[in-house]
């Protein structure tokens, strides 16, 4: 497959085309992923999430520069909740080259939110596979830390960095939404703002009181707009990954992530064949009428529908 060969060579345009292909859930995309699969697995996948306005993009750009400086080849996947209000990936800007301090460029791609049912999570992981096969060594996956689907996406990474800021005052929100539970590293950005140290103390107290299992969560203070703290973040990530590789926790997590990914894909495929076999809804309509007439309970009717579709 010529495109697969181009991807393996790491060309930005081939990679971008390949991601579009897998994003469209077409057969060609599946074939491509199949061709690439023996070459997937070397890249480190870092999920970076946090509430809006916390400075994720700036931090990620800085982080990409820092990874480049020490010889890595980073790429950025920005998962973009395409709200009609805020504008998002649909408005264009699907590929952006991030200029680093030294004048290099970093591959950056926005992933558009696509309905419900796990499509976004699937597409993002597929895109990460493409980047991985293309030889990118670090994949930074940016998601907005609101909503279950964004949390799902970042949970699929090898390591999750949760960003908060002393301003946002949303430590409580982060606790409630489950953000802190998925964090492997906590970053307090805008650390020059008043209250940053107090905020860190409050978080540590919260861990002592209510989230004891999270007591050892590393907390870093950064000022991304002043390029402060991102080099330390790279060091902290390195240390975390090294210790997890040594203990086997790194591979264990990959396996767990892959199990849930395979599970989701299997359910997606079954759903698809279930409804394809039922001829575009006409069978469902007939089934619903049967239930409403009192002929069958919804369960018996659904059972019959499944039996006929998948026999």
């Amino acid at each position: 497959m010529p495109l697969a060969d181009e991807v393996l060579k790491g060309g930005f345009l081939a990679v971008s085309k390949a991601i579009s292909l897998v994003e469209n859930e077409a057969v060609e995309g599946r074939d491509l992923l199949d061709a690439l699969s023996p070459r997937v697995g070397a890249a480190l996948r870092v999920g970076i999430t946090g509430p809006p306005g916390v400075g994720k993009s700036t931090t990620i750009d800085e982080l990409a520069s820092a990874f480049r400086r020490r010889g890595d080849k980073p790429a950025i996947l920005a998962v973009d909740p395409t709200s009609p209000f805020t504008g998002g990936a649909l408005l264009g800007d699907r590929i952006r080259m991030v200029k680093t301090a030294e004048g290099g460029t970093v591959f950056m791609r926005s992933m558009a939110t696509r309905g419900t049912g796990g499509g976004l999570s699937r597409a993002t992981q597929d895109a990460a596979d493409v980047l991985d096969a293309a030889g990118f060594s670090v994949i930074l996956i940016e998601t907005v830390g609101v909503g279950q689907s964004e949390i799902e996406v970042s949970r699929a990474a090898d390591v999750v960095v949760v960003m908060l800021s002393p301003e946002s005052g949303d430590g409580i929100q982060a606790l409630k939404s489950g953000l802190l539970e998925i964090a492997d590293l906590l970053v307090i950005n805008k650390a020059d703002r008043p209250g940053a140290e107090r905020f860190e103390q409050d978080l540590r107290t919260a861990f002592e009181l209510g989230l004891r299992a999270r007591r050892d969560l590393p907390i870093l203070l950064t000022q991304a707009v002043h390029a402060k703290g991102t080099a330390e973040l790279v060091v902290a990530l390195d240390a975390l990954v090294a210790s997890r590789r040594a203990s086997g926790a790194f591979e264990e997590r990959r396996r767990k992530n892959m199990e849930s990914r395979v599970r989701q894909i299997a359910e997606f495929l079954v759903r698809k064949s279930l409804w394809a076999a039922n001829g575009g809804g006409s069978r469902i309509e007939a089934t619903a009428r049967r239930v409403l007439s009192g002929e069958q309970s919804p369960y018996r009717a659904a059972q019959q529908l499944v039996r006929e579709a998948l026999q």
Copy 2:
């Protein structure tokens, strides 16, 4: 089936036992629903939703009294987001008899939130079927209007009442969360509070500007704590149902709702047989290992898993 006979006679205890049975997703529950299905369909199902603190419970108690006074037999299903923080259905209070003004009692049942995956929606609709077969003529389904799953539950009703209050100032929230889109009737409760009329005007302006399809949405002002406006709400519901029955929209909606209910049950059944056939996860684990070793892409691996499970 003796329990089915007891349910058809309308005894509160039999109904309560039957709902527990269908809630547990046991085979007995399915058999019961099957036995009841010819007798399901007469009741009107009214979804009542809105943000916390808007006065839903008070309004629903008043509404139940109003329905009783004019000869209906109402029942209340309260969908209860069992947060560990707020306490909920799990803390007991699963059945409550609501005292009406005249001293009668109304059957009231809390439905506990059960994980994700549509379980709550399924259980609530099954419980409504039981109440329907038991001869309750109006089923008031209370959900908190936050979160997609609660919105799903109320969408399954024949008519949806969305409640807001001038205090909460969450008209914008209601717009953003999609609450207003599912409303068939809008109630502004606590109408004696300052700003109620202003709030109504703002909503109407919002409809003119952004939600033109919703321009004709009836808006009612109520003061549930002073028992004001609920009789008018019953009248408005009657008028809405009558006009929908006349136009065929009522039956059309029931059919659409039943289609999506059957669809969800079918997917649930397929998911269950998919994972039951795969022997408690050991197959998934083996599949994940195969993918991680580069042998297969996640899609091929999932495909193989599905084929073997459902052949």
